[in-house]
Amino acid sequence: MTMSSALPTSRAPARWQDFLQLLKPRVMSLVVFTAITGMVCAEAPINPILGAIAILCIAVGAGASASLNMWFDADIDAKMRRTRGRPVPAGRVQGADALALGIVLSMFSIMLLGMTVNWLAAGLLAFTIVFYAVVYTMWLKRSTPQNIVIGGLAGALPPVIGWAAATGTVPFNAWLLCAIIFMWTPPHFWALSLYTSEDYEKAGVPMMPVVAGAKSTRKQILIYSLLFTPLCLVPAFTGLGGMTYLAVAAGGGLIFLVLAWRVFKSRAGDAADPRQDDGLYDVKAAAKDARNLFAFSILYLTLLFATLLAEHLLDLPVFGGF
């Protein structure tokens, strides 16, 4: 169980900004972006007001699951440099308040999405919140190095929810968007964990470099990259993406593979860092390749979804699909 109740209480009063921080606004913005892409790619007429409400509900649902995550993980967040400034471990917000915020926003977002748009989208949103807050946060994260592989499904579902909100269905192309984010997650997070593994080890989180070692993690990053990059080409042949998308996916995919190969050949994650400073994402020299892959992975996924969005909004030609 969470140790948030045992955390020190700050004398500083909770401000509304602290409650906003519980919702992880940066993650919410990524969720909004991928959900809008799913909704636009569905190419179904949806009332723009209802479409905006659907996106708002998806964003609030993501924020609710983040608040539940911060409530439960306060004990391990307090041990890691990257997360110890969060409102609950820092003592600015009580754990019970984060829990209440998460539950209330979950109920509001699911009910509003169901009553205003459709219950398939609402059901998928409910599944995503439960999967992230319960399956990933409470179970997988502390028990297996496959935590972010399986848990990555929660981050991959927003385009499917967006698609379901627009059409009431989830066809193959919607799941294709989900699969791309799902396969992107392991190389992305393992690249990050290669140079933050000391933090995870200190907190007792069984991330892959902590459990299997840096060498095994580098090999698995390469394997997932070899599966992920061809998958990114598939939308160009299913009627989802066009020529521009194919060029971006192929060009970016090659760079992704080169960077993953460099990580594989590097010693990222091997050497212990003698310094103990507080620099967020402070990178040791040996982990430079891992940092490069981590940074490019964000850019690549953003470019893929932005290209799909642009092609559908500008009505650029796409290949025939099914």
């Binding site: 500083a12 009063p13 509304w16 209802l50």
Partner: protein, 48 residues
């Protein structure tokens, strides 16, 4: 949360900020429900 009867200016300012944020959130929710009702009613009327 502090006791409103015995709080200092910093606590009072923080509480006021939280209350305003909560009020705005509730107002937004009311507006959303109203707008959705109008949109749904409009769609039903248009469909006969």
């Amino acid at each position: 949360m502090s006791d409103p009867q015995n709080e200092g200016p910093v606590d009072a300012k923080a509480r006021r900020g939280r209350n305003i944020a909560l009020a705005l959130g509730l107002a937004l929710f009311m507006v959303l429900v109203f707008v959705v009702t109008i949109v749904r009613l409009g769609a039903s009327t248009a469909n006969g």
